[in-house]
């Protein structure tokens, strides 16, 4: 068996486990939040380009749904197995620890990406479905939003998986990190924004969205994050966290 095949096997198993667990109900509930807001916006105002709903979406996705969905899937992707000792089953086989770690992260990525796609679809359906012209202009915006959100998982999934391999309660620690990094640092103008992954994701959003990044740029306090910088930093950080996660899994005691 090749490490690649082992990774895919573990990923398939992880996807099955995540989809079968009760956590998927919570993920789907989160995915419906944009749709719910869309319905509210549609009830109180006619959909139009100037509708404030569009300006809610960047924060809702890159600063809330992406970190939280990723935390719920990948934070516990190995921690559950360590806590209930079921990790012994795959790791008493020739799969290997590093392919196991990478497979778990990949499985969590797929489930998270699926959840975010559903969230983007729910936003579009809730807000624009059934109206004249079908809201086709907004479909492009939603595609951009979904793509950037899924790109964000490249950094959040391995980071949260790493937390799960290091700490007993990764969800609690992940929420604390989320509060400090994505809710606090990313809203500050200047250099500290560069510590927040969600700030890089904003730089990749369609200019039609009003973002915290755009606000920083307008204030001209410090140089804003550019899309090119974001395209470089996000995968590099993701690879770094994935490498740390795989190394941690290959060295630690399993029980």
């Amino acid at each position: 068996m090749t490490p690649f095949r082992n990774t895919l096997l573990v990923a398939a198993f992880t996807i099955r486990q995540l989809l079968w667990r009760r956590r998927i109900i919570m993920l789907l509930a989160l995915a419906m939040i944009p749709g719910f807001f869309g319905i509210l916006a549609r009830s109180f105002a006619r959909p139009s380009a100037s509708n404030g709903f569009v300006n809610v979406l960047p924060e809702l996705f890159v600063a809330f749904l992406v970190p939280i969905v990723s935390l719920l899937t990948s934070g516990n992707v190995v921690r559950d197995g360590i806590d209930d000792r079921t990790i012994v089953y795959p790791l008493s086989t020739p799969v290997g620890r590093k392919p196991y770690a990478i497979g778990c992260a990949f499985g969590a990525f797929v489930v998270s990406a699926f959840t975010l796609l559903v969230a983007a679809a729910s936003a579009w359906i809730g807000w624009r479905a059934g109206i004249a012209r079908g809201g086709s202009d907004d479909a492009a915006l939603m595609t951009n939003l979904a793509g950037v959100s899924i790109f964000g998982l490249v950094v959040y999934v391995p980071f949260h998986a790493l937390l799960g391999s290091l700490f007993k309660f990764p969800t609690v620690i992940g929420i604390v990190v989320y509060g400090v990094v994505d809710l606090l640092l990313a809203t500050l103008p200047g250099i500290v924004r560069r510590t927040a992954p969600s700030a890089y994701l904003e730089a990749l959003l369609d200019p039609a969205f009003t973002t915290r990044n755009a606000a920083t740029e307008a204030a001209d306090v410090f140089v804003a994050i550019t899309p090119g910088e974001a395209r470089f930093v996000v995968p590099v950080l993701g690879m770094l966290f994935l490498g740390m996660f795989a190394m941690q899994m290959s060295r630690r005691d399993l029980v």
């Binding site: 198993f13 012994v88 005691d253």
Partner: protein, 306 residues
Amino acid sequence: MNPVVAFQGVSRWYGSVLGLANVSIVVPDGVTGLLGPNGAGKSTFLRLLTGQLVPSSGRVSVFGKDPVADPSVFRDVGYCSEDDALFVDLTPRETIRFVARFHGFSGREATERTERAIATAGVDAYADRSCEGLSKGQRQRTRLAAALVHEPRLLVLDEPMTGLDPVARRAVLDLMQQWASAGRSVLFSSHILHEVEAASGHVVMIHKGMILAEGSVGHLRSCVSDAAFLLEIAVDRVREFGASLLGRPHVRHVEIVDGGKLRVATDRASDLMLDVVDAATRGGFAVDSITAPDDNLEALFKRLVK
């Protein structure tokens, strides 16, 4: 040829607590029982050899490979943990099949092997029920089936009979012996002496993280032959017979115990037997039975711990 399991100066610390202390041992083919009280270090030993724990110092090898660095060793090793761990979302059949797939078998072969393992471990009756609702014995059999689905050369079982009813215990014992009779090896742990004595030809005694002794029960007994050994003799005219034994060179102590038997402490059991036969012949005593109450692992273990 590489030994089944070899530990070379292996120690394992849990913070400031020593779990295993500088253990060096080679486990041979066949059935080997790891015997020790709770907390002796049995599970640490088995977890080190299955790569779940990393040794603090020393080297562990299984069929010549490091189980942490080289997962290919698990083609030859099946492990059944003492933890009551199962995927609650899966059925036993699904669990066993997933394990078979992790071992690299194609979908079709994994299905065939799953059915064989289910039949071998006796999981048939509940193979399609959720693992969440299984009894302890059913869960144990499911874990056992998952451990042997790839027909490993070495089956490692951590406390395999804990919590099982007598029938299930017998079934596990039979399975271990069948496995060994097919030319494979079994290494299992237990804190119950008669289980180890009944199942294994080779015994490793472990206490406080140290290997006290290893070998066959007979060999272990001979290792402590210089210690006092007890014989209980049911004989007529018990006082007279006791007096006739006193003064013989290998007899340390004689007393009459409950039931009118004579209990004799000796440092050389085989010579004492000759003395008993000689004394009975000379004095015309009728000896009904001679038993050795401490010729078992429990007594041996107590002696070694002392």
